[in-house]
């Protein structure tokens, strides 16, 4: 039962990654692409983390997975902001 539930979360997470990558390839400009990569991958990694946490044996592992998600989310959001700001400033200059 728990395996099925974990599997559902993991598959849902992978679908988010797929959608984010499709957005990265299809969207017309850099800002829209950042929307796709940042948001879809954040949700995808979160669902993936929940799925793996359901299969974890110890609470320490669950905490580690949660920590991993948090660090990844902060990093991706910071990166998204910096890429957008850099491009915006370059546009303003040129």
């Amino acid at each position: 039962m728990i395996n099925l539930l974990a599997g559902a979360f993991i598959i849902a997470g992978l679908l988010f990654f797929l959608a984010g990558t499709v957005g990265l390839l299809r969207f017309p400009d850099i800002y829209s692409r950042l929307h796709a990569v940042t948001k879809a991958d954040n949700a995808g990694l979160g669902l993936l983390a929940v799925g793996i946490a359901l299969l974890a044996d110890t609470w320490r592992l669950v905490l580690l997975i949660a920590l991993l998600w948090m660090v990844a989310v902060i990093a991706s959001s910071v990166a998204c902001h910096l890429v957008a700001r850099h491009h915006l400033r370059e546009e303003d200059q040129g």
Binding site: A19, G20, K39, I74, S77, A84
Partner: protein
């Protein structure tokens, strides 16, 4: 800042850093090599308090609950929304720029706002200039989303009047 409040401030900071690092060590190692972890945590806390003491924020419990709830909800809806737009044959989007007037004053609140906005459905914070946030939007109801995030962060911390904490 008087020297006594300076010392109290540094001590609070050192204790918070030490406790956080110790907790991190416990989660990462599962309790192995505790003496090393304790030494490193105390040393790092002392150096941090000496070189660059920061402010400790204590979030309000209800505010924290509200913010975490909004953050998780926004993450899921934001990912689903942009994923749906990417997979849709016509890619329905209304890309445009919005200048949002930010009322949050404290740098920590502002950073949290920028980071959360990037994961909120349809919004992306590209620049902060003065009190104005340049937001790139791809959905319709963007101002409502931004106001909701700002309200949740405002309820999270007790903002001191006028903002800047000395």
């Amino acid at each position: 800042m008087t020297s006594s409040s300076g010392i109290a401030h540094r001590l609070t900071w050192a204790l918070t850093v030490a406790a956080t690092l110790m907790l991190l060590w416990l989660v990462l190692t599962g309790g192995k090599g505790l003496p090393y972890g304790l030494t490193a945590a105390l040393l790092a806390a002392a150096i941090s308090a000496w070189v660059a003491p920061g402010m400790v924020f204590t979030p309000r419990p209800l505010g924290l609950l509200r913010f975490v709830g909004l953050f998780l909800y926004n993450s899921l809806v934001g990912g689903a929304d942009v994923g749906w737009r990417a997979m849709h044959p016509a890619m329905p989007m209304q890309p445009r720029w919005i200048d949002y007037q930010l009322r949050l004053q404290h740098p920590a609140s502002r950073t949290l706002f920028l980071l959360t906005v990037n994961l909120t459905p349809g919004t992306l914070a590209a620049n902060l200039h003065g009190d104005t946030v340049r937001v790139h939007a791809i959905t319709a109801d963007t101002a409502g989303e931004l106001a909701r995030v700002e309200a949740a962060i405002g309820a999270l911390f007790v903002e001191s009047n006028g903002g800047e904490v000395s």
